[in-house]
Structure formats: structure tokens, C-alpha cells
Amino acid sequence: MNPRLFKFLPFFILVVVGLGVYFANSNNLPGFDRVNAADRLSRVKLGGDYYVLVKLVELRASQDSGERWDSDGSAPDLSVTLGWRGADIFKSSVKENTFLAQWSTSEVDLRKIALSGQNTSIDDMIKGGRISIRAGESITLSVFDEDLLGIKELAGVVKLSTSELLLGEQTLNFKEGGGKTRHS
């Protein structure tokens, strides 16, 4: 080898090692997996317990059929229900007269605590459904429009395989109802 080419050896070694590390971890280059976590959300782990929290629901101005949500022309009164294993594991409060309902993911009922004298915990504060991840299971997220008589009309529903859920905040689109919702 020509000794004059020696000066290029560090660059050559750097490229070779870089390519080696890249191909050895083709889907998971060290350091890159977590650094870009904001762009690439990680999947939930089988057997793990997680909270599903609904933060925001947005509906279009009218239903797919073109009808307004409420007969008097007002915006819908929105609530969300989370179903798992055939039961409702979480029901949100009703947000009245809005196309854009937002819920806090944690609440403390000070009145209840003051009156009962009980303690509260983080689990009590979290406003969401807790699920464990098993293969083949799913959760159902239903959005309802409640009318003045308290009758709930389904505005949209989405079924999600629990094992395919991702950690962090995501946006989902309803197939029915035309609205969209985000949950984390």
C-alpha cells in the first residue's frame, strides 16, 4: 500500500465501522431509536398494564348524512366511552355544545376528599381506562352525542387492537361519523 494513502485510513475505518454498525442494527441504529422518540412512538409491551386516556375529540359541523348533530342547530354534547372485554371501563364527563371536546387526563375531586376525609392516589386522579395488553384483544372507543333528554347517540366508534397500541399521543380518525379524536 502506498504510504501516502495512510492519511485516508481513519476516514476509511470510520466509514467501514459506521456501515458495520448500521447494518448490524439496520432497524435500530444505537442511539437513534430513542433520540427520535417524538417521531417514532414505541409499541406497548405484551403483558404490560397501561392507561388509555382520551384528551380531545373533534367532530365535523354535520354528520355524514348532512344532518346537523342537534336538531336545534346547536353543537353536540360530547362524551366518550372506553370498552374492553365487553364492558365499559371508562366514561368521560359530557362536554356540552362543542365540536371540540377536551378532557383533562387527571382530576382531583377536592369536594369528595374533603367530605369523605379519604386519601387520594395518582390512580384515583387519572381519568382514563386501565388495560393490560394481551394478544388478540381490542378496545373500543365510542363517542356519543347526548341530547337534552339524556339519550346517547353514537357519533363515531373505533376498535383498536390492544397489542398494536402505541405509547404517547396519537391522532385517530373515525370511519363512521366523520370526526376525529386523539388519545394517548
Binding site: P3, R4, L5, F6, K7, F8, L9, P10, F11, I13, L14, V16, V17, G18, V21, L29, P30, G31, F32, D33, R34, V35, N36, A37, A38, L41, S42, Y50, Y51, L53, T105, S106, I122, I126, L167, G168, S184
Partner: protein, 160 residues
């Protein structure tokens, strides 16, 4: 140890040092750690950085000043130093007098631990993070530090 072997191992360790994970950050939020991990699991995840991924991340997030500082002192500068070291060694092997290259090597040698200093400073900053956040050093740092030390030994041998 032969000079060319020292240079080769130093170059190899440098490449491993910049590409292998060097820091693991385990974010903690004091007594709220549990709550944060439940409400925002992505903020509670451990993060692993290599020197290259850290620089890439800083630049992509618009932190150009610190990104370019790190790029220069932990990637370009050590690479240049190794290249000059090889060049001086090659001149000696070829029976030439490495006049200007040797002078350049001597100048670069004055900053020989600056790259390590940058990493050390980074660790100190991260160690000082509140909430009990833990920072672990991973093999990348060891390879990087060994590369710098071997380059210093090689430089001493080449000059003498």
C-alpha cells in the same frame, strides 16, 4: 507497540467511539416519576445517545451552535488529528522528512484532550439535572477515550 498498529487501533476505537452508544439518560422527576411514567410514558423512557446520533439530533432540532461545536471537537478534529498522525507516520516510513505535517501535528496536539473535555462537560451537565435523573456511560465513551489516549502515545512515538 508499533506505531502503525497504535494508529490503526486508535482509528478503530475512534470509529467505534462515535458510533456505539456513549450515554444513557434515565429521566426521573423526583416524587412525580411514577405519575409522569403513567401519564406521559414517552417522557419516562430511557434515552440512549451515541456521539453521532447526539450531533444529528442537535442539528435536526436547530441547536446549530452546540451541534457544530460537538461536530467539530468530537468528530472532525479527532479525525483530522488521526489523519495527520498517519500522514507523519507515512512520511517517516517513506523516508521523507515530515516538516509541515509534523508542525501541524504539534499544533493539533495542544488540543489533544479537548474532545474528551467536551464529553466530560456534557456528562457533568447531565449529572446536574434535577429530579434524580441518572446518566450512565456506555462503551462508546470508553472507546473514544482510549482512542484519544492511544493517539497521544502514537504522536509521542512518531515525533520522537
Amino acid at each position: 507497540m508499533k506505531i502503525h498498529l497504535l494508529c490503526f487501533v486508535s482509528s478503530l476505537f475512534f470509529a467505534l467511539g462515535v458510533f456505539l452508544p456513549c450515554l444513557e439518560v434515565d429521566p426521573q422527576y423526583g416524587s412525580f416519576t411514577g405519575a409522569v411514567k403513567i401519564l406521559s410514558p414517552e417522557y419516562g423512557e430511557k434515552k440512549v445517545f451515541s456521539i453521532v446520533s447526539g450531533i444529528f439530533d442537535l442539528l435536526s432540532e436547530g441547536e446549530l451552535f452546540i451541534g457544530f461545536i460537538l461536530l467539530f471537537f468530537s468528530l472532525v478534529f479527532p479525525l483530522l488529528k488521526l489523519s495527520v498522525l498517519w500522514s507523519v507516520h507515512a512520511s517517516r516510513v517513506g523516508g521523507e522528512v515530515p516538516g509541515r505535517t509534523l508542525e501541524l501535528l504539534s499544533h493539533l496536539g495542544k488540543f489533544s484532550m479537548l474532545d474528551i473535555f467536551v464529553i466530560a462537560l456534557l456528562v457533568l451537565v447531565l449529572k446536574g439535572m434535577p429530579g434524580g435523573t441518572e446518566v450512565k456511560l456506555l462503551p462508546g465513551v470508553v472507546f473514544f477515550a482510549l482512542s484519544v489516549l492511544l493517539a497521544i502515545v502514537a504522536k509521542i512515538k512518531v515525533v520522537n
